[in-house]
Symmetry: C2
Subunit: 594 residues, 2 copies
């Protein structure tokens, strides 16, 4: 069975030593969340994930969800574990205390989420969807709906879904056809079919709260005619118990590459009773609210898988004896040296490690800004946080999930042929991680969101939320010789990023194809540069601690940083060249010749 | 079901227009293989693969091989199709006519192999292993063994295996423990356990010929004490029929990520009778002979999957309507435009296309040199071909299989969420392709073979077999303005490759860790530069044909070349930087800190 040790020391390092997480306590409502409390919660969460979620990850993959006559049975152990999960309060960490939530910081929620995804990504999707639905409802639903649904959702005995996709309408929601017919009592009758609905039907909760995109009868065509509705699986009976079927049925579940313990459902709505969330024809706004939260959450899945794959690969490489070190045996008493003596294995491990830890730093930076955006007393500071979040959400989603897949694949590679065998669990990481590049908007869509929607915002100045802190850092460290080997390559990458940004903003103004052509390499260029900035700063913090009581931990930070800067950051050269090469060789290809 | 059209026009282009394949006919024994004959065979092969192998690819994956009481049942349809396959002669294309083979060129074999892998990689492994075993036997086995085994292997009614790996001995064969005890009659009794044996047991043939690495009682330790033995599953009875069990049994099969219709077996040898192949303690030589053939064959698996993924992604992207073109609707009459209007989708398709076609060109270049090395009357020309093959075999294996996985993943991405669903077959390409990066020596081992073994050969001049033709081409085209945009970036990459080579040769002399540290990015740098060279030449050939009767085909070559040179070749910058960064940040990491 795969190993897992929750990376709490690293989370503390990032949050308190790199990001000034202590400031968090000064935000309203967080005064009790000091470092000791936060670490105690993380330790409890780490224990729960390692002891309860990890043991049913492989078995859940093998057994998968089972569909029978409209019902979905989750794999053995999922129901018991889910009950333990909600009892322990893990479902309600970040929910509003007004409705029974614990109101803890989103930063903490992100850390716990990483652990859940590292140990059982399929499991995490059930509470994850409830969280997404909550986010959309909390901004747009009436108090009546909130009062009715939130307490049960916080408790975890009712779960949530997002019903967007239809067979002919995936990325392009303008094509969706599900209908909502208004009734005299103010409710609507919803009819239509949705596909790819995560947690659309399952046996973990007594009711399921569907958020459904649909069109009212006189809605304008396209995305301007889409409204959002809350449609419960079961309606309440006279005693307020969810009993009465509401015309919502699961027609089948998908057989997928991975996340097999997560039910991906075809949902049929047949005059199901629903209630409007927000205003008519304003469904996309609410959906985007939910999607933004979910996009960061999906990014965190990439971090979780990367961390798990790294830990297992490192563990295996230390134990597995094969071959001899390039300079001669390091363990002549053993039949062979451990895999860790081989430079190419070290390259793989350091790639995995530096990506996983770098992503964690960037993910927590974004999460901290989410807390600030939600709670900070100063409106300017909140706006600044909002800008940073808007810029970095598509990056977190696409970069983290692309790297999650890369790291999972390296994990298989470190195991050699054994990595391909199901029993070791390494190939499951690859299969599970793969979905995260696709759902909540494919990574190509994220890149378009970044290059086409976010870059032009604030008159093209949104990118300053990233470039300004990097440039300020570069200026302040320009004469620190200990840092030259980190700061100089970062400076080169930052200049490349600046140039690529200008190219997209200028070329895209007259030729929109220039944006889409550059979007994917641009997103990665931005993401890798952001990681390099964080690695430079982590190296600096690491240097400061390299002679103290935890010298090994800090020295490893410095060394991982050096590897990242020397061996991974240079990919920015090729990415920049691709952005600057422009659209013509992409758009010029004749459609008949594909 | 996935689509497949055998890319015969492209094979002809590469072989006859790019590589002067017509010279092939002048080699002894190939005088009847003119273009017309070759194309006729390819058409027949393409039909067989599309009509017989493709339909059982998905079903074979779903059903998988089944183990019961020592027997392995291949999925439905495999036995019938295998019988049709050998009856049609596809098993014996390249085998020696002396033993019933057709003696056709290896180049042709590689083209047919690509089609087999594109339509059913699992199926292809059964005849593929027979081919590998044949190669080792043909160089080292006694005439008595050849006379007995080759006719049945050529006919395909007996199949072959390679039994190398043991649980504790994968990459490091020095650790292997299987014993071979000599008998008075000149045979040996083989005892030991082997794992990961492809086609070790199955129901397709009446006998299985195992090639087994083992140690004789007084063998020296390590790889110098390894001998190769031929061990049949069944011994002949008095009538020469394979009837008598020979102490060879299959203990279990592996449950794997992919290639599920290929039986991966644990094989137990319990005093099984075997015969020495070659000389005692010289088993590694024979094994490497076989491995080199197999390594190119594994590379071809990467090409096959890449071609199949590309064709299906292109097909889907043309049909699927979603969103509108960046400059406004191209199909205002339809509810949405096809996916091909989106620049980022075009980027994915062109990446897939340029990798698949570029790999085909490089693969056929190597295959042609194999024919020359085997048949050319001039010893110098044969030696030159041998040098090129030695250099490029690890590149073909690792680069093609890495790119096979990348392209398969892009195929899933073009399909969006639908790519993750098993029914469309796109995720199977990812799972099947993944093994090719692991078996026959992991891609890290290939990189070490290239950087550590091949580069220093011929006093460090082996690389000239690639650099000389590239430099000659660059010189001869230096003043051709039509080609500047292809030739200039190629020149930059070639200078980088030269510099990286020199670095490895020099730094590696005193510090062997420098070789392993640089090996993986170096292999890719070399491989991408080789593809760029071929793309520059394909662009030139394409320009020449751009106004003829097949203008569309040739123009697509030029445009694909331009995309490759502008958007993919620039990755060499980062690879070069990583090679030149050296080993220190890899080797410096403390082993306790992983």
């Amino acid at each position: 069975m795969p190993v897992y040790n929750a990376p709490i020391r690293d989370m503390r390092f990032v949050f308190y030593e790199l990001l000034d997480g202590a400031e968090l306590q000064q935000l309203p409502g967080f005064d009790e969340v000091d470092e000791e409390t936060l670490v105690a919660i993380l330790e409890e969460a780490g224990r729960f994930c390692a002891e309860q979620l990890l043991p049913i990850n492989r078995s859940g993959d093998e057994e998968a969800c089972c569909y029978e006559d409209g019902s979905v049975r989750t794999p053995q152990g999922f129901k018991t574990t889910y009950t333990a999960f909600i009892k322990a309060g893990w479902n309600s960490i970040a929910f509003d205390p007004e409705y029974g939530g614990q109101g803890l910081p989103k930063s903490l929620h992100v850390m716990v989420d990483e652990m859940i995804n590292a140990t059982n990504m399929s499991f995490g999707l059930y509470p994850g969807l409830t969280h997404g639905a909550w986010t959309a409802l909390s901004s747009y639903a009436s108090d009546r709906l909130k009062d009715h649904y939130f307490p049960k959702m916080a408790e975890g005995i009712w779960s949530g879904t997002m019903c967007l996709t239809e067979p002919h309408s995936g990325t392009d929601l303008a094509l969706l056809r599900t209908k909502a017919v208004p009734q005299d009592d103010g409710s609507y009758l919803i009819s239509g079919s949705k596909i790819f609905i995560t947690a659309g039907e399952h046996d973990l909760t007594e009711n399921i709260v569907h958020l459904v995109l649909a069109r009212t009868p006189d809605a304008p065509p396209g995305i301007k005619g889409i409204s959002l509705f809350l449609v419960p699986k079961l309606l309440d009976d006279n005693q307020g118990k969810p009993k009465t079927p509401n015309g919502v049925s699961c027609g089948s579940i998908e057989h997928k590459m991975g996340i097999k313990a997560s039910a991906t459902c075809t949902m049929n709505f047949d005059s199901a009773q629903g209630w409007l969330v927000g205003e008519v024809n304003q469904g996309m706004r609410a959906m985007f609210k939910m999607m933004n939260t979910e996009r960061l959450a999906v990014g965190i899945q990439g971090i979780g898988i990367a961390e798990a794959a790294y830990q297992n690969a490192a563990h295996y490489a230390r134990e597995r004896l094969q071959g001899r070190a390039p300079g001669g045996a390091t363990h002549p008493d053993l039949p062979a040296d451990p895999l860790t003596v081989h430079p190419d294995v070290r390259r793989m491990l350091l790639t995995m490690r530096s990506y996983a830890q770098g992503m964690r730093a960037l993910g927590l930076w974004i999460a901290r800004e989410l807390d600030i955006a939600g709670k900070h007393p100063d409106a300017d500071r909140r706006r600044q946080a909002d800008g940073f979040i808007a810029l970095m959400t598509p990056v977190a989603k696409a970069l983290f999930t692309d790297l999650g897949t890369e790291v999972a694949n390296l994990g298989v590679q470190v195991f050699g042929g054994h990595g391909y065998i199901r029993e070791h669990g390494m190939e499951q990481f690859v299969r599970d991680a793969r979905i995260a590049q696709l759902y909540e908007g494919t990574n190509g869509i994220q890149a378009m969101d970044l290059a086409g929607r976010k870059l032009p915002m604030e008159d093209g100045r949104l990118i300053r939320h990233l470039l300004d802190p990097i440039n300020a850092y570069l200026d302040s460290r320009a004469h620190d010789e200990r840092l030259t080997k980190f700061v100089e390559p970062l400076k080169t990458a930052t200049i490349q990023l600046d140039r690529a940004t200008t190219h997209i903003l200028q070329a895209g103004r007259n030729a929109p194809a220039e944006i889409g052509s550059a979007a994917t390499p641009y997103l990665r260029l931005l993401g890798i540069t952001a990681l390099a900035y964080l690695w430079a700063r982590m190296a600096e913090t690491g240097l400061a601690g390299s002679h103290g009581t935890e010298a090994e931990f800090y020295r490893a930070k410095v060394k991982t940083a050096r590897f990242f800067i020397e061996h991974l950051l240079p990919q920015t050269h090729g990415l920049t060249a691709s952005v600057l090469a422009g659209a013509s060789s992409l758009m010029d290809f004749d459609d008949e010749a594909w």
